[in-house]
Symmetry: C2
Subunit: 327 residues, 2 copies
DNA sequence: TTGTACGCGTTATCAT
DNA sequence: ATGATAACGCGTACAA
């Protein structure tokens, strides 16, 4: 079904049908005739032919490492909700944790495939920067502060600073930190820095060996806690860079006969589903992921429409959710 | 950058460049000349113009209720991995749990927007069937057995039957079931049926009030367990249709002074992240979601390529993951 | 207000 | 093996 067939059926020219769908410079009678035929046939204009003419795809490329974390899910939901109301669709670039594919997708999305790109990368390198500069469409990065790029990110640094302070106020004296390993994300670094700053400001002991890193694997929270505990049997506070790790840590402490929160207070990060599921319920830090997605989408839309945006780098806040593990 | 500009730069005709990218009927010297120019310019053919000619979009529409469950994530990962290797991309239709949008997306995807559609619907109604029949491209449904449609689904019925038996073999005599509410999914029905059949086959008591349903909300597992316990203070086994509900149920039992698994054995469903995180670790049923995504994608590719497929309806197995909550 | 005619970038047909 | 050219479905400048 093409625009010409519709035109013939409605007894008008193809131009009239085109106008019917776009600017709308059509007399009432013809409009009605067209409407009827369109209704009957279920005709929908070919988006590819439209793109060929207009250079607009109404598509947004979204590059993600993998759909396996609450954070990613929420961000994508936020993006999707915002774009959907504007008639845009998401073209997914799932890299399966393969960083080289992030670059590949940046290239694939180049030549008029999408009107804009949202990148949820774990780590933006110089190669990324280069690929982004080559892009002909606007790009928004979510989750990291990359200088000179449009981005939405979280205040990891301050969040960890505050949550560590939170433990300090509850009279914790020997606090340890379980972060991400170095291969991981810049967020990890910020979180670690926040932890160190909080201890220093409170004049509490802060040795390198109080800080440990983990893979995001299953049992590692348990094992890391074991190692930390052997060094600091007097520890009374644990800050974890993720809820998953916190769960393992708590489990080790409990197996060891320590009571949480009476003997040791524990906080996690990211407000995952476990936080309410485990015993004791886990105090955690909630980032505004869905909002980040929505804000990123809104920023991208403005860039596409060449509407001036108020800020290229937007930092979002966080929220400390207090539960039983610190009471 | 267009194919004509490349042709001019390489000193050949546009047809030669086109052949270079497609069938490849080009002499070695010209091939090399083209390769060089393409390399230098970074030229990529316009997918829209290609589609206009070939009627192939290399896009697969994926309709999902929302990105908020492990199941959905895994299925989409499975789809994405399989399609990516074949040069297809995912066009996401996130309905935000609004069923009417499923129909909308089915229509949006119609007129040559995608080469095929994968539908992860919570419940396929007659309206869905109608919309699917109208589609000009093949459709695969994942997660439900819909007669006459291509689909991949799980053996919920047998899984619950087996896991209930599992409790029976461990000498449970009074087993209750917490399922989904009726508005939800056909899966819910199958799971309930499997439960009833297992009890009947074992000649155990099976009253209607042993079977309860829940929303997928936070605390409801806790509250439903409370209600069931008041009716059956002698209960010694609980089958839950989701891990989330199981967590709430266990919590209630523990608060009530019951020991899990010594006094009451509990099993969940879906092998979510909590299953290993809580105490006791949760025995659960794992469905092969990622495999379902991959198989669905493979089936769709065959349909698109008009390769005969061995079966239109594929049922996948499951796995009982035994943990401490039933030991 | 309406219709004709051209061009968007590509593939495919047809001569050569 | 190669190149000129028509055709895909649409939007729009232009003439009417």
């Amino acid at each position: 079904m093409t625009i010409n067939e519709i035109a013939k059926l409605a007894g008008v020219s193809n131009a009239a049908v085109s106008r019917y769908f776009n600017n709308g410079y059509v007399s009432d009678e013809k409009r009605e005739a067209i409407r009827k035929v369109v209704e009957e046939t279920g005709y929908v204009p070919s988006p590819q032919a439209q793109t060929l003419r207009t250079k607009k795809t109404k598509l947004i490329g979204v590059i993600i490492p993998r759909l396996n974390s609450t954070a990613t899910n929420l961000v994508v939901n936020g993006i999707s909700d915002r774009l959907e109301t504007e008639g845009y669709q998401l073209l997914l670039g799932n890299t399966g944790d393969d960083v080289s594919k992030e670059l590949k997708y940046l290239q694939v999305f180049n030549e008029n495939r999408v009107d804009g790109v949202i990148l949820l990368s774990s780590m933006v390198t110089n190669k990324h920067r280069l690929a982004i500069d080559k892009l002909k469409c606007p790009v928004v990065i979510i989750g990291q502060n990359v200088e000179g790029c449009n981005c939405i990110y979280y205040n990891d640094y301050q969040a960890v600073y505050m949550v560590t302070n939170f433990l300090i106020e509850k009279a914790c004296k020997r606090i340890v930190f379980i972060g991400f390993n170095d291969a991981d994300i810049s967020n990890g670094k910020q979180r670690r820095k926040g932890f160190i700053k909080a201890l220093k400001d409170a004049h509490l002991p802060c040795e390198d060996s109080q800080i440990s890193t983990s893979d995001i694997k299953k049992q590692s929270g348990y094992l890391i806690m074991e190692s930390l505990y052997s060094k600091y049997p007097d520890l009374d506070g644990v800050v974890c860079a993720s809820d998953r790790v916190a769960v393992g840590a708590i489990k080790y402490l409990q197996d060891r006969g320590k009571r949480v929160p009476e003997d040791v207070k524990v906080v996690g990060h990211d407000y995952s589903d476990f936080s309410m599921a485990i015993t004791p319920t886990l105090t955690t830090v909630k980032y505004h992921y869905e909002e980040a997605g929505a804000k990123g989408a809104a920023m991208l839309l403005n860039l596409i429409r060449e509407i001036p945006i108020s800020a290229n780098e937007v930092m979002l806040g966080y929220e400390i959710i207090e539960n039983d593990s610190t009471r």
